[in-house]
């Protein structure tokens, strides 16, 4: 872990020495600054709740702290996103009630020029099934390739691509006023 900052700054996808030894505070802060946003947005896409997403972010980083002497992490971003997914599913299993409202990774600030569009798209995304929405989030928010998405989700690449296409078709239909729903 000692060289995370150096390697990260050169090529974030090629972290080979991560989490091998003691994780220093500086290392953890550097990894947080690089990946907390992606983790938070992905957790939001899975859970639809900002408060729960924050808890997931915390658990993911504490997990990284605890992870020592278990070999190097080759792809830190994929590792962290996989950990995010695992933590989010733990939260989902514990949930007693189904959420009626779904927050997404899209910022809906008052001062946005295209706030109305952001609200519409965010609402439509909230109606897409979570297993499709998470792929849209990883693809369009974090710019992951289908190969990378497949690794994070542990599914075949073709499955990731077809779920994505299905989600985009549904979104398009919903935004155009059609009846596509979940």
């Amino acid at each position: 872990m000692a060289n995370v900052r150096t390697v990260e700054s050169e090529r974030p996808e090629q972290v080979r020495e991560a989490a091998r030894d003691e994780v220093s505070s500086d290392d953890l802060a550097a990894v947080y600054d690089a990946y907390a946003g992606a983790i938070y947005r992905y957790a939001l896409a899975l859970l639809g709740s900002a408060a729960e997403a924050e808890d997931v972010v915390q658990e993911v980083f504490l997990g990284l702290m605890r992870r020592r002497n278990r070999g190097a992490i080759r792809y830190l971003r994929e590792y962290l996103l996989r950990a995010t997914r695992n933590q989010a599913y733990i939260v989902l299993r514990k949930r007693k009630m189904r959420r009626t409202e779904c927050e997404t990774w899209i910022e809906l600030g008052q001062d946005l020029a295209d706030r109305e569009r952001a609200v519409d798209i965010s609402a439509a995304l909230g109606r897409v099934p979570a297993e499709q929405r998470e792929i849209v989030a990883l693809r369009l928010s974090e710019d992951l390739s289908f190969r990378e998405i497949a690794k994070v989700l542990g599914i075949p690449q073709n499955t990731a691509a077809s779920r994505y296409r299905l989600a985009v078709m549904k979104l398009r239909a919903m935004l155009a006023g059609g009846d596509e729903d979940g």
Binding site: A36, A53, D120, L140, D143, V168, R172, L175
Partner: protein
């Protein structure tokens, strides 16, 4: 949902629009919270782990020495007070161990009479105590 603006969009257009929308960031307070929690839950530092290992080693050595003494393999000299006490009664037996240098009323022990392995054990033990950072 107002559909007038979205009808006729291609999938590529929709993708581009979603990509262009501003993304939420974690609240700044979360960074502080995560790093503070991580610091709290940090595992013992290597220095403390080393001290713990040294303590165990020390105890193991002492146990081994005591057992060795019982079987006559190691002779760890008794404390000066004991030697002096015993010497008063059996002077002849302890002449090899006690150097007869008298400073006031105290006897001084000569360690040269110890067997070599006991000497090494005590030296190693002392070095361990003196060099380990006990935190």
């Amino acid at each position: 949902m107002d559909d007038s603006g979205y009808r006729g969009w291609s999938e590529e257009q929709l993708e581009e629009v979603i990509r262009g929308l501003p993304r939420r960031e974690p609240p700044p307070a979360l960074r502080h919270r995560v790093l503070a929690q991580a610091e709290l839950r940090r595992a013992p530092r290597p220095r403390l782990r080393l001290a713990f290992a040294a303590l165990i080693l020390l105890l193991a050595l002492d146990v081994a020495a005591i057992r060795g003494q019982d079987t006559g393999m190691i002779t760890v000299p008794a404390s000066p007070a004991v030697v002096i006490r015993v010497q008063e009664k059996h002077d002849d037996d302890l002449l090899a161990l006690v150097q007869e240098t008298y400073h006031g009323r105290a006897w001084q022990l000569s360690l040269s009479a110890r067997p070599p392995h006991a000497e090494g054990y005590l030296r190693f033990r002392n070095r361990l105590i003196n060099t380990v950072d006990w935190g």
